[in-house]
Point group: C3
Chain length 209, copies 3
């Protein structure tokens, strides 16, 4: 399970920094930046736990995720506070490219961990398993965008939630043939793959116009 | 209970299409349209179940409501994709008139079903019963509007939430004299009646200015 | 515990009026004004109870808080309806100054009551206790602002959430040395003090720019 824990931490860092960056862009103070970081990193799991009746939610049983989120937000704050010019330069572009990759890893990790949490509570309903997988993956980002007053990114980003859905379905199928941990890692990798291909080739889902 | 089930499905279709239409108007992709449809149709019941401590929420025990929402959203998407001109013409006007009627049916159905759910869990508190009735009726639409970046419609539409409150009160009173199913149907009909009269005569609640 | 109950009611009145005033400013009807008042006054406690697994939430066991919120909203509505000129004059300025004080009292009261609720359910995790204290204090205002389409005030107001955090930490420390009620009252007073000093001297947390 160490591999799962490592990608979970990577995902937490990625999600926390995406939240912190929105706060930095909106010129929020350091508290607001931390709130958005924690919300993004832990919000999906919080909704999942409320839906599954896990109280208090898991984030309060293992506070390492909250600590990682706060550290991430404070480090980013310090970085851009000390080197303000980085915010407008070439650096941000490179930074966001890397963040995109880490965000994809987070999306994959959180999706399969959401399913795993429900399975370990004994739930069997396919619809419920898929739902909690996807909500764990995309929920934090949705709360972040609503709180920051933006249109939720799942409505805009190329094939974002669909990558999570595909990974959730794959995870359930792989579990029938493979060991649990292996199924989770392959399904998470699939999410990353779909998401990066979609971002690179600018895949879009059909629209009316 | 067949009558109740039928109006519940009608309400689901109406609420899902109101969500889908907002996504179509905002030129979202087919995934976003489905999310708004499901949110609107199932969101009120989800909040109700969290408040009542029903985990996992009922939407995961009977996935027919989610399936109906998805079918509704996909049908509407196909319709407007194939016949784009319908979006700007006379058709939308007629469509919205019918939707208003179905939405009123949904509001009535969801209000009385919300109360019924709480009663069957053994709750007696009048305030709780009224609250879950109204939140089941209006909660989905509120989440939909917040996610889509609109001012929640309950703050704007003529006598919308009040119709739900009146129906909830009526439902509790009728239950003292009539059979449960009959009380639910009459109370739901009362919601529809108030809502349609309010829309037609443009009833407004008092404001400061 | 009478002292605690009294400051809780003062906090409820303050929070309810801050919600009602936003509705009045946005020219909502009397229903919308009541919704914002109830949401602000009871929303924080509702989130706390969902996180702690208290179902149905406490607001449904003692409806006096809801009644106080509704009375507050209706009184304010009547006042500004009958004396419309008060909305633009000197009166609002004085009113908001007093509201600021009462809001600070509410923030302090709700923070320590949030912690107390979790302790009485037997929770020990420091992170959880701090979280529910702060979310009880600031949660209602955040929902109010999201519903009204404003940027949540915690991202803007001078040292608002930090006062709540400081009070939550103080409350836990004081409990080690003092009686429970005394610790709660001193910690709540500390929140009020920090908040009023911050508002008066316009303390700000650091930002990037």
């Amino acid at each position: 399970m160490l591999a799962v824990y490592v990608i979970e931490i990577i995902g937490t860092v990625a999600f926390a920094s995406s939240g912190a960056m929105i706060g930095i862009r909106k010129n929020m103070d350091i508290f607001g930046i931390n709130v958005l970081a924690i919300t993004t990193a832990l919000g999906g799991g919080l909704i999942r736990d409320l839906v599954l009746g896990i109280t208090p939610p898991n984030m309060f049983r293992d506070s390492s995720y909250a600590v990682v989120s706060i550290l991430t937000a404070c480090l980013l704050f310090l970085l851009f506070r000390l080197r303000r010019e980085l915010l407008s330069g070439h650096f941000v572009e490179t930074y966001e490219k890397w963040m995109n990759v880490m965000d994809a890893i987070g999306l994959g990790a959180f999706t399969v961990i959401g399913i795993d949490t429900a399975l370990q509570k004994g739930y069997k309903s396919i619809f419920l398993l898929l739902f909690v997988g996807v909500i764990t993956g995309i929920g934090g980002g949705m709360i972040r965008d609503i709180m920051a007053g933006n249109t939720p990114f799942v409505f805009i980003k190329h094939v974002y939630a669909c990558a999570s859905i595909a990974g959730a379905v794959a995870c359930l199928i792989f579990r029938l043939f493979l060991g649990d941990t292996l199924a989770m890692i392959i399904a998470a990798a699939l999410v990353v793959l779909i998401r990066l291909l979609a971002a690179h080739y600018r895949w879009n889902l059909p629209r009316i116009q």
